[in-house]
């Protein structure tokens, strides 16, 4: 069987065109980028982009545009302006331009423009709709979620009825199920058993509205503590908080919640002899909470699916860099031995 597969692979190699070979190179570069070989992968992506590979162009364009989601790293940040222009951007008559605005395939023009221009402002819904219509679902949902979390549920509710199904965003469906249910109580027992991958986004959205909806009474103390941590406010936890159980619950939730799994995997790298109960809590504090994790989504869903990205090493690596960078501005003592070792390394 192995021999047959090898022969098949060889015959494909002989039959493949130069374009297919380039495509394979670009795919390999994307995989390398996801799995941590950043310097060589970005250079390979740059070569592929310059030879017309649109996947590489989209990815480089987003790395250039969006520092956090796309390419927050010492390597990218350490590039000089000229190197950056050379490596990440498309050449044009004025010097360089972001690849998202210079995609080789004219059919992808709308997609490039949508990714390049989205932002969360006073009228974010059109940006979300624009992203969603070009297949950038996770980015569109992030815009919606952020809109609810700045208190503007009215804008989300006022989405046009022909909103291409955006009202089916995962976290909105979770909120819908919660609102229609008879049991409003939100306990950790119930929450950890919930297998919906959008439950943390949904929980934060409903908590944002809890006061005007008179729902605060239904949140258990443990869930309120979890929300505090997830918002990056672990420093406000009560003195008698059960960190062991909080940490165990966060790890369990991270098994179904992609963004939280980034923190869980980062902290898991440290826990060899003993469990560091403060690692996830303090990592969330330093990096300003769940919204930052949501920014670590796939740069371009059309190139790397949300699922593949979140489970790759790339977001963990970006998170680690982010943590180190933001620790410089964190004034409280470091309680987590894992974070202390991480920050100390390389200093």
């Amino acid at each position: 069987m192995k021999i047959l597969a090898t022969l098949a692979g060889m015959s494909l190699l002989f039959l493949s065109s130069p374009a297919l070979s380039q495509e394979n190179d670009a795919s390999q570069a994307v995989q390398d980028w996801l799995n941590g070989n950043e310097i060589e992968s970005v250079q390979a992506l740059s070569r592929a982009a310059n030879t017309g590979d649109t996947d590489a162009q989209l990815l480089l364009g987003q790395i250039d545009r969006d520092t956090v989601a796309g390419g927050f790293s010492d390597y990218i940040l350490g590039l000089s302006k000229a190197q950056r222009r050379e490596l990440l951007r498309a050449p044009n008559d004025k010097g360089s331009i972001n690849w998202l605005l210079a995609l080789t395939d004219p059919e992808l023009e709308d997609l490039g423009a949508a990714i390049f221009s989205y932002k969360i402002g006073r009228e974010p819904i059109w940006n979300a709709l624009s992203l969603q219509s070009t297949g950038e679902i996770s980015a569109a949902e992030f815009v919606l979620w952020s809109t609810v979390n700045i208190g503007r549920f009215d804008l989300v509710n006022a989405m046009p009825s022909d909103s291409y199904g955006l009202s089916d965003a995962g976290f909105l469906k979770w909120v819908t199920t919660y609102v229609s249910g008879e049991n409003k109580a939100l306990t950790m027992n119930r929450f950890t058993k919930d297998t919906d991958p959008n439950k943390v986004m949904g929980l934060l959205a409903i908590k944002r509205l809890a006061r005007v909806l008179s729902l605060n009474q239904y949140f258990s103390d443990e869930v309120d503590e979890f929300i505090m941590v997830i918002r990056g406010q672990g420093f406000d936890l009560p003195e008698n908080v059960n960190l062991v159980s909080l940490n165990a619950n966060m790890i369990k939730i991270a098994e179904v919640d992609g963004p939280l799994s980034i923190v869980s995997r980062f902290c898991a790298k440290c826990s060899e002899d003993k469990v560091d109960y403060d690692c996830m809590v303090q990592a969330m504090e330093i990096t300003n909470g769940y919204e930052t994790l949501l920014a670590l989504r796939t740069p371009v869903e059309n190139v790397i699916s949300a699922e593949d990205y979140i489970h790759s090493e790339r977001p963990v690596a970006i998170f680690a860099q982010l943590l180190k960078g933001r620790a410089d501005y964190y004034s409280r003592p470091i309680r987590s031995s894992c974070i202390a070792a991480h920050i100390g390394a390389g200093q």
């Binding site: 006022a158 609102v179 509205l209």
Partner: protein
């Protein structure tokens, strides 16, 4: 008095409550401007907007938002000024604190002005600084509280005793409804009458049957109750006050005794405590919350059971002179802000204020089986209780590794119906369990009876009452909220009295269903 109040407080009241649904869109913005919702207007019940949104129907607290849109219900500005009258300490101290906490809870404020010759006034403001209500606090005693509610001078009466049957009749005849109904009577705190002496007095415990003799003047010297030879000086409240009335009902009337004419009558519970604390030969009756620097003396029942006055024994109402603090409203007029305030009384913030004011709150406390020594002493002390070692062993096995919750259900006299506090406590327990994160626990509802009748019948009766509480609890709990917590009902009959069965009050205390949280111990393989 109330009629003279200047009506300066604007309050939003809705016209056309429970407005029929239509499809117009409204926008609801929180008063602080930080949250905005929109949706199709469905209805308005005077306190909540219901809107249809992309996540389903949402109910929005109308007091916290401003409504914009053609379909917003028509509003008019009316004055909301009302009086609260009743027990001097409850109104004067506790309610001033509760109003302050309420102001914080709604994101607003409460401004207190103490009148020199009039009632204390509290202006309640929302978070925009707009006045929602002006409340006058009239601290004139429980009896006057009922009078003010009847006359309309107050819309809320706060009393340290339950409404009497005669008073109920008068209220019903005047169109004020049934004051003892669930809708109009609310228990929001507990207190207890305590026997106090000066700290220098060596007496630590007084026999229950001697209380009436002491305060009626039949026992006049300390040497008759184990002290030195010296006259006893009595300090009490007016028999018409809440304290005086509860003492008369629980201690004096059952034995046909009346208060000694030599007793010094004082105006407040705090004055009684101060007077006794300063008199080494004094003994008095005051409130637990007002005992101050006086020494609280334990009461020993006729069967030998001796229950100290603690927050836990008062919460469970096992201390024999426990009293409930009541809030009564009329069926005629309850302004929206008053309704909102009454709901606030059930919150943690309100109950913390209750405890901070020296009263016993209704929040759930826990006591481990290790701290239940009284239970086992009481099982063997009385001679009228049918109890075997086997039964005690079984109960001990069930209660091992368990914590007792302070919620205890009691039944109306001669009835299988839960009493007024028990009805509220069913919902309170359902809420506590629904929002509790229990791991490896089970809930035990354990019924007990008094010693009247054969032990075997009492065993069956106790099981039946525990099952009744379980049924009520399951009905009150939201669907799925008890999935993680097995609930079992058990009955032990009469084997564990916590008060003497010789008196009506003692039997009432013993007819109960206790609530226990038990660890499920898993043995490793």
């Amino acid at each position: 008095m109330f009629g003279q109040l200047k009506t300066i407080v604007p309050c939003v009241l809705a016209l056309g409550l429970a407005t029929a649904a239509n499809a117009g869109t409204i926008r609801l913005t929180s008063l602080d401007g930080n949250t905005a919702l929109s949706g199709e207007f469905v209805s308005f019940d005077g306190e909540k907007y219901t809107i249809k949104t992309i996540v389903g129907e949402l109910q929005v607290d109308a007091f916290q938002v401003l409504c914009e849109g053609d379909d917003c219900p028509t509003l008019e500005v009316e004055s909301a000024a009302f009086g609260i009258s009743g027990s001097s300490k409850v109104v004067g101290n506790l309610f001033a604190d509760l109003m302050f906490e309420f102001g914080l809870d709604i994101g607003g404020d409460s401004l207190t002005s103490i009148g020199t010759d009039g009632p204390t006034m509290i202006q309640l403001q929302n978070e925009l600084g707009e006045e929602l209500a002006e409340v006058s606090l009239m601290a004139n005693g429980s009896a006057q509280g009922f009078n003010d509610l009847l006359s309309g001078d107050a819309l809320l009466a706060l009393t340290t005793r339950a409404v009497g049957n005669d008073e109920k009749t008068v209220f019903a005849a005047a169109g004020h409804g049934d004051l003892s109904s669930e809708a109009q009577q609310k228990i929001f705190a507990l207190d207890a009458l305590v026997i106090v002496t000066a700290r220098s007095n060596p007496l630590r415990v007084v026999a229950e049957q001697d209380l009436a003799k002491i305060f009626s003047g039949r026992v006049t010297n300390w040497d008759q109750i184990g002290g030195p030879s010296a006259p006893i000086n009595l300090y009490v409240r007016d028999p018409n006050s809440g304290t005086g009335s509860v003492f008369a009902n629980l201690v004096m009337k059952p034995v046909g005794a009346s208060l000694s004419p030599k007793a010094t009558i004082l105006g407040t519970d705090a004055e009684v405590a101060s007077a006794v604390a300063a008199d080494p030969l004094g003994i008095g009756i005051t409130g637990f919350s007002d005992s101050g620097s006086a020494k609280v003396v334990d009461i020993r029942g006729v069967c030998g059971i001796q229950v100290p006055a603690t927050s836990f024994t008062i919460k469970t109402e096992e201390y024999p002179l426990t009293r409930r603090i009541f809030a009564y409203t009329s069926a005629k007029d309850v302004p929206a802000q008053l309704n909102r305030f009454l709901r606030f009384l059930d919150t943690d913030a309100a109950q913390i204020a209750v405890a901070n004011a020296g009263y016993v709150d209704l929040g759930v406390s826990y006591q481990s089986n290790d701290e239940q020594g009284l239970r086992y002493l009481s099982a063997v002390m009385p001679t009228d209780v049918e109890v075997s070692l086997k039964q005690l062993r079984r109960m001990t096995g069930d209660l091992m590794a368990s914590d007792r919750m302070s919620i205890t259900y009691r039944f109306a006299l001669g009835s299988s119906q839960l009493d007024a506090r028990a009805r509220d406590d069913i919902q309170r327990l359902a809420n506590v369990l629904a929002t509790g994160d229990y791991q490896n626990k089970e809930l035990l509802l354990i019924g007990f009876t008094d010693s009247v009748g054969p032990g075997s019948s009492n065993l069956a009766l106790s099981e039946q009452r525990a099952q009744q509480v379980q049924n009520a609890l399951v009905a009150a709990a939201p669907a799925g909220s008890l999935d993680n917590l097995p609930v079992r009902s058990l009955g032990y009959g009469e084997i564990s009295p916590l008060s003497c069965n010789e008196s009506d009050n003692g039997r009432r205390i013993n007819r109960r269903v206790e609530v226990w949280l038990r660890d499920i111990v898993t043995v490793s393989r």
